[in-house]
């Protein structure tokens, strides 16, 4: 079935390193993608989004790359900090509403001081 999934369930990095979290999606009709960060006891927090007519979008310390040819999405975090430790979810939407999302399983990012 159609799904959004993550390649790695966990990622450990040293403080100051760059982090890359990957995500694959299967529905070529998806036209909106979004990354959320979830800390313990909190809800998903918006990080960055990208529409299918773009292949790259940058925010503060974060960059999202979209490769529609291979249906791949990635989140890059520059100079990772301990406060970045959380579960990261990618999600996709198929156009009816950007709030109706299909989520991946999530990647646990652990940043070591």
């Amino acid at each position: 079935g159609e799904s959004v999934g993550l390649h790695l369930p966990t990622l450990s990095v040293q403080e100051g390193d760059n982090s890359i979290i990957n995500c694959a999606y299967s529905n070529s009709a998806s036209d909106y993608f979004i990354w959320y960060k979830q800390e313990s006891g909190k809800g998903p927090q918006f990080i960055i989004d990208i529409r299918s007519n773009m292949d790259k979008r940058q925010g503060q310390r974060v960059t999202v790359l979209l490769n529609k040819t291979v249906k791949h999405l990635s989140l890059q975090i520059a100079a990772t900090q301990p406060g970045d430790s959380a579960v990261y979810f990618c999600a996709e939407s198929r156009g009816t509403s950007y709030g109706k999302l299909t989520f991946g399983q999530g990647t646990i990012l652990t940043v070591h001081p």
């Binding site: 979004i34 959320y36 006891g41 909190k42 809800g43 998903p44 927090q45 918006f46 989004d49 979810f89 999600a91 009816t96 509403s97 950007y98 709030g99 109706k100 999302l101 299909t102 989520f103 991946g104 399983q105 999530g106």
Partner: protein, 113 residues
């Protein structure tokens, strides 16, 4: 500005009882979404309100779940009667329009025993 708020943060009920979860969206957000995450699985879409109208309820699992949004402000999600498999975290999100990002609340952890 207050974010999306959910009440209660945690609820423990016995199988067969009724529970009502509440979500207050960000002020001015016409779009309200309910999601849930059960047993470590992916976050799953339940339904979408536009103001007081149900736009999409394709994710509602069965008729034991009833969502309302009278007046187009806050929303409630009632589970009656609750079953063990309903345990999980229920999230609410809101967005200004269908083409903008959704912001999530902290979730309600429901435990059915």
């Amino acid at each position: 500005e207050a974010g999306v708020t959910q009440f209660p943060s945690h609820s423990v009920i016995e199988k067969g009882q009724t529970v009502t979860l509440r979500c207050d969206p960000i002020s001015g957000h016409d779009n309200l979404y309910w999601y849930r995450r059960v047993m470590g699985k992916e976050i799953k879409f339940l339904l979408h309100f536009v103001k007081e109208s149900k736009q999409d309820e394709s994710g509602m699992p069965n008729n034991r779940f009833l969502a309302e949004r009278t007046g187009g402000t806050y929303s409630t999600l009632k589970v009656q009667p609750a079953e063990l498999e309903d345990s999980g975290v229920y999230f609410c999100a809101s967005s200004i329009s269908v083409n903008t990002e959704a912001f999530f609340g902290q979730g309600t952890r429901l435990t059915v025993v």
